[in-house]
Every structure is written in C-alpha cells, then in structure tokens.
Amino acid sequence: MSTTTAHPSAADAAPQSVAAPSAAERPLPVLAVDLVTEPALLGGLAELARDLEQAGVGALTLSDGGLHPIHVAAHLAPLTSSIGLLPRTDAVYVEPFHLATQLMSLDHLSHGRAGWLLRAETDPEVAATVGRTVLDLAATAREAADVLETARLLWDSWAPDAVVRDVASGTYVDAARLQYVDVEAETFSVRGPAITPRSPQGLLPVLLADTDRAAAGERTAERADGRVLDLDLSSGLTIAQAAVRIREALAAVPAPGSSAEGGAVLEDPADSGAAPDAAAVRLVRLVGLDLEADPLGTVAGLTADLRSEGLIAPAPTPGQDLRTRLGLSPAPFRLDPARRSDRARLSREESA
C-alpha cells in the first residue's frame, strides 16, 4: 500500500532508540474469554458479561456467530464497567472506512475499553455476500495489512484537541488539526478524514490470534500490537496444563527487534511500519467454553489460579484503558503536514 504522501508509520509510536523491555519485563497478558455471538446467547448475554467481569476476567472477545460482533461488543459496553471488549472481525471483505468508524465508535462509548482482534477471511461464501471473488492467500494477506494501516490512519486523523469550540471566532472544529489519509491501496482508496472525532485511546489495540496468523500474513503480524494465545478448553484442559502453555508462550517470545518466529528480520524498523513489540503475547484467550453447561465455574477457577501463579495480569480497574492494561504505551497524535486537511486553504493563501 502507498499513500499519496509519505506518512509516519506506526513504529514511530515508540521511540526506537529506547530498548524495549525484555520478555521477563513485559507486562503479563490479560485473560480473555471468547463469546461466540450466536442469537441463542441473547437472553443471558448481559448477565454473562457482568458475571465474567465480576470473576476478574480482563476482556471479552466476540467471535462471529451470526450477530455482528462489533454491535454485540457495543451493546455490552454500558452494561459492564471495566472489562475489555474486542470484536474478532474480518479485515478483507469489508469497507475499510466503515470498519474503522465502527471500531473507533466502540472505543468512544466504552470509554477506551475497545480493541480489535483482526482476522482475514478466506471463505469464498463470505466474499460472495459482498459480490467479490475470494482472494488468493497473498492477496488476502496484502488486503488485511492495507486495511489495518488504513484504519490506523483514520483513527489518527483528528487531533485530540481538534474540537476547539472557540465562540469568539465562531469555530467549532479546527481543520488544521485534522488530516486526510490519502490511502491508495491495491484494491481500494480512502480520502478521509474520519467522520468521528479521535477516540479515547486514539489507536485501538489490534491483536492477532495465532489461529488467524497464517491468513492475515506477515505484514499484518508485524504491524499488530501483539499476539493472542488461545487455550481451547473444549477438550478438558487442566489448570496445570494451561499454566504450562502460558509459560511456554511467554518464554518463546523473542527479544524485540530480532527475528520473530517465521518472520523476516526487519532491515529498518523505523520505516517498516512494524509495531515495536508485535510478537508479545498480550492476551490469553479462553475458547471452547461451554458457557451454558458451566457458565462460570471453570472460568472463575482458572482466573484465580492463573492469577495467583503470576501468569496473567491483575483484574482490570475502571478508568484504565485497554492499551494500558495490555502494556501498550499511549498512542500520540502524529500530524503529517502534507496531509493537513486545510491544505487547500493554505495553498490559496500562498498563491494570494
């Protein structure tokens, strides 16, 4: 993907000169429970989310079971107070502009508890629902990475202080604090800016589950904010086995900047768009839970035990945003002078 003008990459979010923490110093991963958005879940959805929050679970991931995961996450936001909300949704057979808007809106109404579990769809039937032919693997990966970069540019298209409400000059919003995104990707283009002001976290954390890594491709994996370790409880994983899996995963993470497993060594990290610590395990996701048969027993026990063994992050506290809990630094606003949305006025003034 290219933009019509150069723009800073996500790598600039963290100073490159400062050594990232070693694996041992990394924050502990947040424990998440995966809910599949089946219509049958509707009646007990709010109660279940609150119970999981009470049990100390750090985040919910919403996997697609029919109901739209972003809207289900939004629905749960005012009904919960501290749990993180991460829809797991496709980056390929979507309108990038709509997807970015929906996710940043989720961040607004959850007061900074939103994240995105990115997946790259490979099912021809899903492609056909939007009148497209399924892409091959290389094109799928390219599309996912392009959409991720576009979403971040849109999220970063309003400065935190763009809404000025200056009564004296009659100015509600300052166009000098907005920027176009000017994306010209292989299969789509987006002008921007976003139609939604900057959300509380600025850039939502974007995570990639190991199961979704192959389809999403290397560029997406490098640009993600971290990995998700899945623990499948459907086959009766014990707490001890879960602990071993987490320890192994945390120990296996290479030092930042070196070759990630299966990943290319980055020639110049500052220009690559790679996230500073994309290989870090930030989320441990419990999947395959039978929440009808045993809604809380398994989860509450696991949560308490893994926490007492020091393997997962403390229970979330209200007011703390998801980036902070995941160990990500705040996302600064980066204004690119070439993309400033008042450029037409500036050039008029110059020629005058």
């Binding site: 289900v72 005012p78 709509h98 409400r165 800016p193």
Partner: protein
C-alpha cells in the same frame, strides 16, 4: 390501526377545527383529507440527534459534548420518559467541506449510528432506535445483518432511515468510488432494500443486478417486530414514489398545515397506486420545537435560538456556498454581496444539508428578496436556516393546540424532532408540551407495546 389507543388519556371535548384546518378538509371528519385515509388522531414523536450541522447550538455553556456517551444516554432517557416512539441518528459519510476544507463553523463529527444504537439498546426498554444508513456506499447483506443484529439486541426496536447519494466526492472514502448516476439512485436503493428484505426473511439470496452481484443466506432469526422499520425522507416526486412503495415512515419536513395536508394527499395517492394500505405509511415530518410560557417569550426565544445557531461567520459561509468565492470582506450586518457568483453550479460546499443550485439565478433572487425585506446578510442567513427546519413555536398551549389540529385533520402521524440543544433540548417538550398533548387526547400516556412497529401503530410484518 384504530382511532383510539388503549393507553390514551381522557380526551377533552373536541373543539371545532379552525378555519384554516376546515378549509383544508375536503371530506367528512372520518376522512378529512382523502377518502382512502382515516386519521388516527394520534401523534408519535421521534428524537433526532442530528450530530452535524447548524441546528444544534454548540456555543452555550449548556451545550454538551456531541460525541460523548453521556450526551446520547441523557437524551435518550429523556425521550423515553416522554414516551417517544423513536430515537433517530443521522449519518454523513464524509466530513462536510467548504471551499475544499472541512467545514469549521458547525458541529462536526459523530459516532457510527448503529454501533451507538446497539449500546443504547442496553440502557433503554421501549424506545425505537433508528439509524440513517446509506444504500450507495454499503453492501446490502452486511448492512442488513447489522440492522438485524440491532433489531435482535433491542427486542424489535430497530429502524433504518434509507438514504441515497450519488456523489463521487463521498465515494472517495469507499471501494466503489462514485459509481452511481443520479437518475439511478432510487432504482439502486430499491434493489438494495429488496436484498435486505430477503436476508431478514432468512432466504437464499442470488441477486444479479445492475450494480452488484450477491450470493448469501439469511441466517438470523426474525426479531420481535419481524424486521426493522423503514424510514425515508423523499420529498421529490421520485423520492415520494420510492417511499410509497418501500417505506413505513416518511419524515420530510412540512411546517405548515397546508403543506402537510398536501403532502398527505400526495402520499396516500402514491401508496394506493403502489398497492399498499395508506395506513401502513406514517408521516412524521422533521421538526424543530421552540417553546416558552407565553407567546411573547417564545418569539423572543426564537430570535435568540437563531442568533446562537447562525453566527456572522456561518452567514458569510452560507453565501459563499452559492457565490463560490471568498466573501469574507463583506460586512455580515450589511446588504447581500453585489458581486456575481464565480460558479455555474454551487459546489464549493459539500455534505449533508448543503444545497446545490443554479448559482446565477439563485444569488439574484436572494439579493432581491433580502433588499425587499430589508435584511442584512446575517438576518437573511438566519431566516433561511430557520425556514428549513419546520419550526413549531409558541406558548406551550398554542403549540399543543396546533399539533392537535394537525393530528385531527390527519395531516401527520407525529414529528421527528431535532432538539436545538444537547442534551437538555427535549426537557421542555417532555415536561410541558407532552402533558398538554396527552390532555388533548392526541399523545399516548404510555407505550403501546415493546416494538417500534407497535409504538408507531404499524402492522406487524
């Protein structure tokens, strides 16, 4: 729908219709406007959180945050306290621009409508949740699924305000770009709505149309109301025909009784021609309500509201929109510019609510109009802004009497009200106007049911 609601207040003895209303009636009391239309005598209100444009005042200390969850939650709670049938959100898919720069003088930027409504569904119980969504720059199955998700999450309270656009400028944010001819936008929208309907009914979709090809399977259960309620604002003849064939609710603004009566006749005829029962198409014009205890105070308040809505900078920008050139050297308190427009078609300002027109002719007409009325640029701009809003103003009692007449004549089925202040802009409507409408027997004292269709008096689907 019957003429009395089960929850209706004790009606006062009905006053005779005013001379104005009586003059508009062409039939007996049961069918005053059209033989195929029976007034329900009832009004339903919607609350339209505009989000973007000059209708919402942002300059006052009481002006709340336009994006914060708290603003939306506070407004929807007030609306539900007032038994409003619907809470309605707008949408524009590109930031409005003026002379190539995002427009800086009005409220701008809002959250995604459906994502927000999915959250509001969790903190409300009865009020309908209506999202404006564009047929040109959405995929029908994706949009249908999101609307059905909202309908299921809310227990059958979802609505969709169907809007179309053909402008390529908005298309710059989307995969297809500007692909649609102006003349085709309603054809496209109709095909889109058909595909959405198939999805909601759980059907296998194999659509090969002029603009897209879709293969999909509806996979979600029906909601408590069957499928989302369809809103439309079509005012042009094509738009009215589209609405008569497709919509459950029409909300284009008609501030005068005469205009509303005329519009009702037009819609009834088009609905009958389309083979539908006219009782299945409700008319809730977009409206602004400015109230006070007395007539004199209300008059004063309208002036004050207009002053807050349209400042000197916005007045100049309004003219620049049509003149197509920099008019910042003109005094807002002086006469309209005596310079010719620089463009043939106004197009320097783009986005929701901005108008396109033949510039030469329009600017000349405006200059004449302002000269005749002795209006300055600022006065003219404020008058123009107000004229677009379908404003009802007066004392609580006057406005209640007037709305009673609209209801009894059957000119409208309710109003879609844009508060001029967020989040407190519905307070006086709920606390002062609605009790008076209830006393007059034209507004429900409680929700008729749990779904939006029930609360609008629409038949189940």
């Amino acid at each position: 729908m019957t003429t009395t609601s089960p929850t209706r207040h004790r009606a006062r003895a009905e006053r005779p219709l005013s001379a104005e209303a009586a003059a508009l009636a062409t039939g007996p009391a049961a069918h005053p406007l059209h033989p195929d239309h029976t007034p329900t005598g009832q009004l339903a209100f919607g609350a339209f959180f505009q989000g973007v444009n000059s209708s919402t005042i942002w300059r006052l200390p009481a002006s709340g945050d336009q994006v914060a969850w708290d603003s939306f939650e506070a407004l929807v709670r007030t609306a539900e306290r007032g038994k409003f049938a619907a809470f309605f959100l707008g949408e524009g898919l590109r930031l409005r621009e003026h002379r190539g720069v995002p427009f800086e003088l009005d409220v701008a930027g809002r959250p995604d409508a459906q994502t927000l409504l999915a959250a509001l569904a969790g903190v409300t119980e009865r009020i309908g949740l209506v999202a404006t969504q564009n047929t040109t720059y959405n995929d029908p199955v994706d949009l249908a699924r999101r609307l059905q998700t909202l309908d299921l999450l809310s227990g059958g309270r979802a609505g969709w305000n169907i809007v179309t656009t053909d402008n390529a400028w908005t298309g710059e944010n989307f995969r297809r770009g500007g692909y649609l001819d102006h003349a085709d936008r309603y054809l496209h929208a109709e095909a889109f709505v058909q595909v959405a309907g198939q999805y909601w009914r759980g059907e296998r979709i194999a659509h090969d149309g002029a603009h897209y090809t879709v293969r999909a399977q509806g996979e979600l259960p029906r909601s408590a109301q069957g499928s989302p309620v369809l809103f439309q604002a079509g005012a042009s003849p094509d738009g009215q025909d589209f609405a008569a064939r497709t919509a459950d609710v029409i909300f284009s603004p008609h501030g005068t009784l005469e205009a509303a009566a005329h519009f009702r006749r037009s819609i009834v005829e088009r609905t009958v021609a389309a083979g539908r029962d006219p009782a299945g198409v409700k008319i809730l014009p977009g409206a602004e309500i400015i109230l006070a205890a007395t007539e004199a105070e209300a008059e004063e308040k309208v002036r004050w509201v207009r002053d807050q809505q349209v400042g000197p900078e916005q007045a100049i920008a309004l003219l620049e929109q049509y003149w197509g050139r920099d008019l910042s050297a003109f005094d807002p308190d002086g006469p309209l510019p005596d310079v010719p427009p620089e463009v043939a078609e106004s197009g320097v300002t783009r986005g929701a609510g901005f108008q396109f027109a033949k510039a030469e002719e329009l600017t000349r007409t405006w200059r004449e109009e302002a000269t005749q009325k002795g209006q300055s640029i600022l006065e003219f701009a404020r008058a123009k802004a107000g004229a677009r809003r379908g404003t009802f103003t007066g004392s609580y009692d006057t406005v209640a009497d007037r709305l009673e007449e609209f209801a009894r004549l059957g000119a409208i089925d309710g109003l879609n009200i844009t508060p001029w202040l967020i989040p407190s802009g519905l307070d006086d409507i709920v606390d002062e106007l609605i009790p008076r409408l209830q006393e007059r027997g034209v507004y429900p004292s409680d929700y008729a049911g749990s779904t939006l269709r029930e609360n609008l008096g629409l038949p189940a689907v």
